[in-house]
């Protein structure tokens, strides 16, 4: 072959060629062709300060992609910016990140993640732009069928997804947490310690005041003060003031609480002090803002769902009970509960929530603006009707019990707050074409939920303080709140405000306040626990911080398997990532075992399926055995990348290289 001539040379020769009659057509045919150039891919992930592990996966992938002849731009961006890029603007090639759920999740979580019906939406629903009819069919089927039939469907769903690789699962990390147990104990070991359930299960170590008395204080005084402050705070700005009011009132009105409130300065109260590297919770408390939520742990304590998944069980939470009336309908009855501003939680709030998650504009914007989080779950509910103040009827088209219960795991939002946020988002009064609503972009200042914690104050980028909601059903014993039940007949299940809730959550949380402070890195987070300035870390800890935990006598390492798997996500809207064969070769460039050994120092488990943390969900064909991926094994050449084999795989898939070994593609 002759040496290829650059396009510019060809164009320069065009005039010459034109002189020779007859050749013009041919020259035009050549010069009119677009040249091939080296393929460039951008990998986005968060910097080591934000997450010590993700960047390591990205680095390995970068090295291996570079080795096979792809030009890689490794881009470290902050967490908010990363998810804004990936989830909202979908302006990325490849990203490395963590899945949102930390507890082992039902296979239906894949519905939101990969169903093609969400292709045009922004958020955690199908961020890859993946469209595959066979996957859609399987996703729909697993919602309907039950038992072994569902297991089979879920099995083939995983096999199809693993074959097509819209994203490559890398590893399920151990959520490492440094804790000290002199003030709080009961840190869970079998799952992520810093989860909603994990924080609620904590017990205060009895030292001076017994927190049990505080938890069970008489509520009547507090309720009335809540009502007062509700009217004050309803304009939105005086959250801090109103909560301060509250603690003052609680102290004076309740005899039993005075012990705790006496030292409100800080020492007398049981304050759980957490340290994190993630500052997003100090400036945004919007439960549906995808780019500001990691796992939604703290917003999960501000906002109650109807039911909560608790291990393999589902426990009624804001719902007192729910009943499947027929194939299509589900009746939910609510507990007696109040919003943090004193308004009652009603069935109409629940109906509003589902309507709102479907379209946060409630019809105010021409095209619906669905929620960027909880989209898979909320899409199960097709219609909702208020039967009475405490009962709502949901239409859930022919889904199985498991999936129906998942529909009830979205945060219930107060209609009187969020109905004012359904207009198109504006900047300084100008409505720009962002196709979004105020509700999605709002930081949700002074959040009004119904959860066991309520907001107190925050300094953006530095810290945030929450306090126990004294009116929550977890801390409200039956006999005392019910004025008629003067005789101690609180054993009746119908009157017990905590009916159906496991005893470990009764009277919880065990802390009066939760203070989260932002620190620059995982190492400083561990140090502050070791110094006794904090009780636990809420950040992703790198393995380098583990020996530091060991060196401190009062600090203990608690770790539990997290379901929030690390993965490499591909934007399959873009060529050549749109080609499943191309993605398959990329998947084989990821040495998952090496990632687990080096980046996680063994504190993770490599996996092929996104459901590897879900019990009994992974079919034998996808089980991780012998240290290799069952579907797309790493191009292994005694521990390093077998470049020749990888290039051969690219060639087999139809890709070409220039004589310098660069992988070619059409100009992107």
């Amino acid at each position: 072959m002759t040496r290829p001539i650059s396009r510019r040379t060809a164009l320069a020769g065009l005039g010459l060629a034109a002189a020779s009659a007859g050749c013009l057509g041919r020259a035009e045919n050549i010069a009119g062709r677009d040249p091939h150039s080296q393929l460039t891919l951008e990998i986005n992930t968060t910097p080591a300060d934000d997450d010590p592990s993700g960047i390591r996966i990205a680095r390995q992938l970068e090295e291996h992609l570079t080795a096979v002849g792809i030009d890689v731009q490794l881009n470290a961006v902050g967490q908010t910016e990363l998810w804004r890029k990936v989830l909202i603007n979908q302006d990325f090639d490849i990203y490395v990140g963590q899945f949102v759920e930390t507890e082992p999740f039902d296979p239906d979580a894949l519905y939101g993640l990969t169903h093609s019906k969400f292709i045009a939406e922004s958020g955690w629903q199908n961020p890859f732009g993946f469209t595959e009819i066979s996957v859609d069919d399987l996703l729909e089927r697993q919602r309907r069928v039950t038992g072994t039939e569902r297991s089979d469907v879920v099995g083939s769903l995983q096999e199809t997804l693993c074959r097509l690789q819209p994203f490559s699962v890398v590893a399920f990390p151990d959520a490492l947490t440094a804790v000290r147990e002199d003030r709080f104990d009961g840190w869970t070991e079998d799952r992520q310690p810093l989860s909603v359930a994990g924080l609620l299960e904590l017990d205060a170590v009895a030292s001076d005041d017994d927190s049990g008395t505080v938890a069970s204080d008489g509520d009547s005084g507090t309720v009335s003060s809540d009502g007062d402050s509700g009217t004050v705070a309803s304009d939105g700005d005086s959250g801090t003031v109103s909560s301060d009011d509250d603690s003052g009132t609680t102290g004076s009105a309740d005899g039993s609480a005075t012990t705790a409130a006496a030292g409100t300065g800080s020492e007398g109260e049981d304050v759980l002090r957490l340290v994190t590297t993630d500052d997003r919770i100090t400036e945004n408390w919007n439960p549906i803002a995808a780019e500001y939520r990691k796992h939604g742990t703290f917003t999960g304590l501000l906002y109650d769902p109807l039911v909560r998944a608790d291990g393999e069980a589902v426990i009624p939470w804001l719902a007192a009970d729910w009943e499947r009336i027929d194939h299509d309908t589900l009746d939910v009855s609510l507990r007696d509960a109040r919003w943090h501003d004193g308004e009652p939680v009603t069935a109409s709030d629940v109906a509003f929530t589902y309507r709102f998650l479907r379209d946060t504009s409630l019809g105010n914007v021409e095209t619906p603006v669905p929620t960027p989080r909880f989209r898979g779950r909320s899409s199960i509910v097709e219609d909702e009707r208020v039967l009475d103040d405490a009962t709502v009827r949901l239409t859930v088209a022919d889904v199985n019990e498991t999936v129906a219960a998942r529909a009830l795991q979205v945060p219930i939002l107060p209609e009187h707050v969020w109905s004012a946020r359904t207009d198109a988002a504006t900047i300084a009064g100008f409505e720009l074409d962002f196709e979004t609503t105020e509700a999605v972009v709002s930081n949700n200042p002074d959040p009004v939920g119904s959860g066991p914690l309520r907001f107190v104050a925050a300094t953006a980028g530095e810290s945030v303080v929450f306090e126990r909601n004294p009116d929550h059903f977890l801390v409200r014993p039956a006999p005392e709140t019910d004025p008629e039940a003067s005789g101690e007949t609180g054993s009746g299940a119908a009157t017990d405000p905590r009916a159906g809730i496991p005893s470990q959550y009764h009277g919880k949380p065990a802390f009066d306040r939760l203070r989260i402070e932002v620190l620059p890195s995982d190492i400083s987070a561990v140090e502050s626990v070791a110094d006794g300035v904090a009780d636990a870390t809420a950040a992703n800890l790198g393995p380098a911080s583990v020996p530091r935990i060991g060196r401190s006598p009062d600090t203990r390492l608690v770790s539990g398997r997290s379901a929030a798997f690390y993965h490499v996500g591909y934007n399959v809207r873009r060529s050549p990532l749109s080609n499943p064969r191309f993605r398959a070769v990329i998947a084989r460039l990821i040495d998952k075992s090496a990632v687990v050994d080096d980046a996680f120092d063994g504190y993770a488990r490599a996996a092929a399926s996104p459901l590897a943390a879900t019990p009994d969900a992974v079919p034998a064909s996808l089980a991780w055995t012998d240290g290799t991926d069952p579907v797309y094994p790493f191009f292994d050449d005694e521990g390093s990348l077998d470049v020749a084999a990888a290039r051969e795989a690219f060639r087999d898939a139809g890709y070409r290289f220039d004589d310098e070994g660069r992988l070619l593609s059409r100009g992107q």
């Binding site: 080591a48 470290a76 620190l519 620059p520």
Partner: protein, 288 residues
């Protein structure tokens, strides 16, 4: 915050001690005594330069967080660009030279040496009979901070320790976690381009060379310390080589601008008094 305050106290103690030693060794007891007279006049004379520096520092302290948000949204996302440009240079520096002794030295230089390096010129040049150099140094500091802040806003990038954690150890922060707390109070991890540690150190080093006639003992110390700070920024995995090169450019630019803005002839114009306007010739020589 106790670890934070104890670190601050130790910095004050170190810098105070070094300033005292250097004042005696470099300026000399005789000149120090002489400097006492007319001190107030010279301070008054330098008030505008000092005010400028104070204003810049204040503006930076107040506006930094909002500028940071602007930078994240609209700044040039340069991490990939810088990393693509220089690759693993910083990793190579660490893997080639890192020893516990050097790590201890550079950690010390990065925190204590740097603080001393910036503080001493103010004392030394205040002791000179004429305030031209003092005012130039203060203006150069102000320019460094002002231009640095503008570049921080325009360019959004993370340093090598954040991008290559497998190859670049955050040596400073693993050895001195308390320093990280201090650093995060003063700066954020996305402000890497340019390296202000480099530019301010090189600024001091340049002034030390320019004033070698006045303080011949200071020049080698300042040059050694400032180059140590420059190396430390990369050795400790905090800055890219690109940041350091930009820091040099910023430093030389600021020194040149400071000479341009602060003219020795201004001394005569200002109604400050006796010390100024007497020997314009010698100052012009130092200027060259």
């Amino acid at each position: 915050m106790t670890p934070f305050l104890s670190l601050l106290a130790s910095i004050v103690a170190w810098v105070g001690t070094m300033l005292a030693v250097a004042s005696v060794a470099v300026i000399g007891p005789a000149r120090l005594r002489d400097a006492w007279t007319g001190l107030r006049a010279r301070l008054w004379d330098a008030r505008r330069a000092a005010g400028t520096l104070g204003a810049v520092l204040l503006a930076s302290a107040i506006g930094r967080s909002s500028l940071q948000a602007v930078s994240e949204l609209f700044g040039l996302q340069a991490t990939a660009l810088i990393y693509g440009l220089e690759g693993g240079f910083v990793a190579w520096v660490q893997s080639t030279f890192a020893t516990p002794v050097l790590t201890a030295y550079f950690s010390w230089v990065y925190v204590y040496g740097y603080a001393f390096l910036l503080a001493f010129p103010v004392v030394a040049y205040l002791a000179l009979p004429r305030t031209t150099t003092l005012r130039r140094v203060l203006v150069a500091y102000a320019l460094n901070y002002a231009i640095g802040l503008a570049l921080y806003t325009a360019v959004f990038a993370y340093g090598p320790r954040n991008v290559m954690p497998d190859m670049v150890t955050p040596l400073l922060f693993t050895n001195r976690p308390d320093v990280m707390l201090l650093a995060s109070e003063v700066n954020v991890n996305t402000n890497v381009f340019p390296s202000l540690h480099t530019s301010l150190s090189v600024t001091v080093g340049t002034f030390a060379v320019l004033t070698r006639e006045e303080y011949p003992r200071w020049t080698p110390v300042a040059v050694w310390l400032s180059l140590s700070v420059v190396v430390a920024t990369m050795y400790l995995g905090i800055h890219w080589l690109t940041d350091v090169v930009a820091g040099f450019a910023l430093a030389f630019g600021c020194v040149a601008l400071a000479h341009r803005f602060v003219d020795p002839r201004n001394d005569a114009v200002e109604p400050s008094g006796d010390a100024s306007g007497e020997r314009p010739g010698s100052e012009a020589a130092a200027d060259a």
